[in-house]
Every structure is written in structure tokens, then in C-alpha cells.
Symmetry: C2
Subunit: 172 residues, 2 copies
DNA sequence: TTGCAATAATTGAAAATGCATGTATTGTCA
DNA sequence: TGACAATACATGCATTTTCAATTATTGCAA
């Protein structure tokens, strides 16, 4: 194998980042603009935040959950989520009860009022998705969704630096 | 036109949301997990936040920008951006100067130190993207990126009720 | 030209967020 | 079984973000 006298062509390619072709950038942009518009148009009239909507949607989709699982499913930090659930309970959209099998756990569920709210929000949510995906073929949209699921799985399975708790364990 | 005695078939389909097939949900999840891991692993050692990285990356990719355009390109609120730029200037990564043609505008640019930082961060950024996209074919990845650009364009072009932030078209 | 609306950036104050820590409970293994 | 680690949730606190002005400048129409 020949050792090149010069660096391979297009050395600039590594030093420069074309953001419009950079996946994390594209994903962030799309995520922000969708959340903004859905929040302003659909959620604001109901006086709920996008974070609250995410919690309600997960509860409606996946059923009652422990807070730690809700945090995972919504990508919201556990401490933030604890406060959001407090607000949802105060507003009457969710209930919080100690788990039967473990009294350190808490189970969050939708109330009837919460279910009714989600039912009203689902059609505009679907509409927003349809408008976002306008011009994409069914195949393309399917590819996008499948790939996003795969990407999430990749990131989740990635070996990462030890977190605080395991650092403490390793240090002992 | 006949009025059906019963509701059309599969009424549940509209009332229930399957989040794992819901585009906004998938996009948000992926965006959050990528930002988290890139922030913890790559940015934290440099004492840089993900928001600061986004600003630096846009400046490196698109050149010096007015703050309002930076806000658009980074999906960061203009007031938040103003404070982030202040921090970047204080840290020596960026410069802020009044525009030549309009003294109400400000032009933010990378300093040499800022460029050097971005140059160091680009390789791990590329690595992260590659790991995220592991298992996707080149074609699939291309479809995903193209569709995300289209989706962003769709959302931007969407008719929405008047809001404070002006809708400014950015060529990305 | 002048007056007024629009634009760009900043800032005060409130709300939201994230990290570290605290508390209570459960799991485990020596 | 009895320590001790791990887990689940809540909370204090500092930081960050957002919304609503505020200031300064520019564009534009009468």
C-alpha cells in the first residue's frame, strides 16, 4: 500500500463543518421549530407547556408510568419531571400515587380530564406532523422514522463515560 | 350522501397516538440524546455549553453574522443569544462589533481562539454523527438529511398567526 | 423633510432547568 | 440478619431561558 506524499484530497473537508449536512444540527433545528409552533398554536390556548404535553402524550400512549420511566420516555430530567408532574396534578390532568409494590415509587396516570385534553390535542398534533412531512413520500417518511429510531438506539447503546453514581462506586 | 349509523371504522386510530411512530417525538428524542452526550463528553472538558457550541459552529460554517441571523441559524431566542454572545466574547472566542452599514446591528465573528476551538471540536462532532448513524446506509442517511431539510422548510413556510419574531428566510 | 412604524439589540424580572444533595425505601450479600 | 449499596423521588440553589419592555437606529410614506 502506497504511502501518499501528500495528504488525501480535500483536507479542508475535515476542518470545516457544513452544518446543512450535519445530522445533529438538522435534528435540533427541526425539533425546535416543531415544538415552537405546536406550543404557540395548539398548546398555548390550553395554557400548557410543551414539556407538559410531552408528559401527557407519553401517559396517553404508554399508560401510567413511574416518574423515572416517564423521565426516560420524555427525555426530561427526573428532577424537572417531578416538578412538571406536580403542576399536572395541581391542574387536574394527572394523578400521582404511591406504587403498590414499592412505596418509594410513584405512579403517574392521566385523570379523565387529562385524557380528555389529550384527545383534543391529538388531531392538531397529527395535522402538524402531516404539514411537517408535506412533500415526503410515504416511503421517505417511513425511512426517516425508522432511521430516527435506529439513531436513538445507537446513541443509547453507545459506550459512554461513567456517570456520577458509578464513578462513586468505582472509586470505592 | 349516506349518514352512517355508526362512526367510521377504526375510530381509535385517531384518538390514540403511537409515539414511536410520531415524527415530532422521534426528532425531539434524538436531538436531546445527541446534545446530552456531545455536551458531556466533548464540550464539558472545554467548559462550553451546547448553546455556545451551536453559535461557534454556525460562525465557523457560515461566517460572521448579525445576532438576529445567528438566532435564526441556531434556533436560539434572540435575547438568549445576546447573553451567550456576551459570554463568548468574554471568553475570547468571539468578537462583537457594530456593523458598518447599520449601527443598530452587531456583527459577531470568531476570533483566532474561537476558530482554534471549533477546529478541535469538529472531529469529535463528526465522530458523534457517525456513531449516531451507524447501521444506516449512505442512501438512508442522505434521505434522512434531505427530508429533515425539507421538513424544516415546510415548517418555516407554514402560515402561522403573527408573532413577535419575524420570519426571516435563511439559506441553509 | 418629518413623523411613524419596523428592526436590532439589550435588559429586568419571572419562570424553567439542571446539578447536587437529602430522605425514604428497597435490594444484596457477607 | 444486618450493614451497606442502590434506587426513586423531592428539593435547595445556581444558572439559564424566556417574555416583555426599553433603547437606539433605520426605513418609508405622506
Amino acid at each position: 500500500m502506497r504511502i501518499p506524499l501528500f495528504r488525501e484530497k480535500t483536507p479542508v473537508k475535515d476542518a470545516k463543518l457544513n452544518l446543512s449536512d450535519f445530522l445533529p444540527y438538522l435534528v435540533n433545528r427541526v425539533g425546535v421549530i416543531i415544538a415552537e409552533q405546536f406550543g404557540e398554536e395548539t398548546l398555548a390556548p390550553h395554557r400548557i407547556s410543551i414539556a407538559m404535553w410531552r408528559v401527557l402524550a407519553v401517559l396517553a400512549s404508554a399508560g401510567a408510568q413511574r416518574q423515572i420511566d416517564l423521565a426516560d420516555l420524555t427525555s426530561i430530567d427526573a428532577s424537572t419531571l417531578s416538578r412538571i408532574v406536580t403542576r399536572l396534578v395541581r391542574l387536574g390532568f394527572a394523578s400521582r400515587a404511591r406504587s403498590e409494590n414499592s412505596s418509594r415509587e410513584v405512579v403517574v396516570a392521566l385523570t379523565a380530564k387529562g385524557s380528555a385534553l389529550v384527545a383534543r390535542l391529538i388531531p392538531p398534533a397529527r395535522d402538524m406532523e402531516a404539514e411537517a412531512a408535506a412533500g415526503l413520500s410515504a416511503e421517505e417518511l417511513a425511512v426517516v422514522k425508522r432511521c430516527l429510531r435506529r439513531i436513538y438506539g445507537n446513541m443509547q447503546a453507545r459506550p459512554r463515560r461513567a456517570s456520577r453514581s458509578s464513578v462513586r462506586r468505582a472509586a470505592v
